[in-house]
Symmetry: C2
Subunit: 318 residues, 2 copies
């Protein structure tokens, strides 16, 4: 059932001992939303714990470290944040599948698996929904909560760059910065700029090998297991790699091919302008959004590339 | 003389036939400020023309193209925007040096060379000052003016990322987006992401050659004339290169060395955290801000590097 702020407030004010589930491959928005929610519940006197299938990446230590519940308790309340589909709960699907009472989300694709879903698909981030909810409830934010919300909003909007950014996104940033001494420049540097040496060298290598075809409208960048091993880069350091494929001024479509295992490739598509890459990915058994979509293709790398190029060519030719 | 909005308004409402000067190596903020000012003057019935020592880069066509005055007229009013020092007017210093009546700026280093200076050093961009001035004056913005102001604010704040961003910066972005259908995602993509193939390959090359020293706290990237020729990249495409030097997670200081001519190197310093690179550059005959400064050093490249490393080492050792 879709609900509004009023029902969410009633639920939160009357709950106890909550588990807050974040999605697999956690990003700044789900981590920020999870820990912001925990701060809000604390101020309501509700004990809660944030959980995730994966470990939280160390670059989010300023949000997560020392800020989670260390007590053991049997959850009475199940909350999911920024999770459009139960499958994205990973191992927690087994435990909490079908039992989520409240889901707070901003994905238009939300499957409404929860008993109550607070969905604002015009919000740039789940953290934007949580800010508006806290304001509606009259909950006084802590500085740590403000840091969580700023981080979620900034990361999911590409630092206010992407089209999901709204006037309200900027207003919330303004209010958070006005009320709290948030070191936003430091946060943004760590979220968007800082890289390991291996990641920098891997980027350098794949760009030097990038392939442009279809009148330079398609750029393909491939990352093999061998490259990652050579540069000492692990899979979770590849975040933010896909947008590289549409930096080239002539690019309409960019594809990042990542070798998962020999003969199996995860392909992330990006659209620079009007091409709907979700449609292209659907023809390859995948899906996603108009500007960012993906699919998994098996075969030899050169053969995989050939099939991807053909699929893009068909779409551009329309 | 430093002035406030009231004096600036009186001046603008009573001026005629204005030339609006922007600085050499024009960026999004001075171009945005110049053309926003022209829009505002138009709405006051004042003829004006934006001038610049250099040609406006083509990526700003959406602001400049077809939007400047084509009539010849003898300027009666001399306005400078985003220019801290008359030297930055380039060839226009000869014509208008000592004659600027109104300067609108946000640089704390402004030399107050104009008869009247409207200076807001807490603003992220000259465009932020112009927005506040227009609001004060009750001038109704055109959409084109909004696009100019958004572009200036976004580019000078690194898309709301840098520490110069204020709550007011976000508020103005929110107001502009709420009132006008600005294609901000497209603007930001073109300002921050799109690169020529040569620029991408040059970046890839210099990163693969980057040198880390002083316990990986200093990163040096060097761009030679030979590299630029090989990659077919011109000097104005090097904008945004310097921040690359502090992407490495261990970096405290980054230096981009650009060969101007054989034996002459322009060195751009960046500080990731607390090191004051302006002080380091002063010891080398240059200057700038705490987090971004520069100097020019002559000699053989390896010798230049050696002197830079020594200067940074002295500073880190303090």
């Amino acid at each position: 059932m879709l609900i509004g702020f009023s029902e969410a407030e009633t639920f939160l004010r009357n709950c106890r001992d909550a588990v807050i589930i974040t999605h697999i491959n956690p990003d700044g928005d789900c981590i920020g939303a999870g820990f912001a929610m925990r701060e809000i519940l604390s101020s309501l006197g509700v004990r809660s714990k944030v959980v995730c299938h994966d470990e939280f990446p160390t670059r989010f230590d300023f949000i997560t470290k020392g800020n989670n519940c260390t007590e053991e308790f049997e959850p009475q309340t199940i909350i999911a944040v920024d999770i459009a589909d139960e499958k994205l709960m990973g191992k927690y699907q087994e435990i909490y599948g079908g039992k989520v009472q409240l889901c707070i989300d901003h994905h238009i694709s939300n499957k409404q698996y929860a008993q109550m879903t607070l969905l604002r698909d015009d919000a740039a981030a789940a953290c934007q929904v949580i800010y508006d909810l806290a304001e509606y409830m009259g909950v006084k934010l802590t500085k740590q909560c403000a840091v969580c919300i700023y981080t979620g909003i900034s990361t999911d909007s590409g630092c206010f760059r992407y089209s999901c950014t709204t006037p309200r996104t900027h207003e919330i940033a303004a209010e958070l910065m006005r009320c709290f001494d948030i070191d936003f420049a430091h946060i943004n540097r760590n979220m968007f700029e800082v890289k390991s040496r291996g990641r920098m060298l891997l980027e350098s290598r794949v760009v030097s090998l990038m392939e442009c075809c279809l009148d330079e409208k398609l750029t393909i960048i491939a990352v093999t297991q061998e490259m990652m091993k050579e540069m000492n880069v692990c899979a979770d350091e590849l975040e933010g790699f896909a947008p590289l494929t549409i930096q080239l001024e002539t690019s309409e479509v960019g594809i990042l091919i990542r070798e998962r295992e020999p003969g199996l490739y995860k392909c992330s598509f990006r659209s620079a302008n009007d091409v709907n890459v979700s449609e292209i990915c659907r023809t390859l058994g995948g899906g996603g959004h108009a500007k960012a979509a993906g699919c998994t293709v098996s075969g030899e790398l050169e053969d995989v590339k050939h099939r991807l190029i053909e699929a893009v060519e068909r779409s551009l030719g329309k």
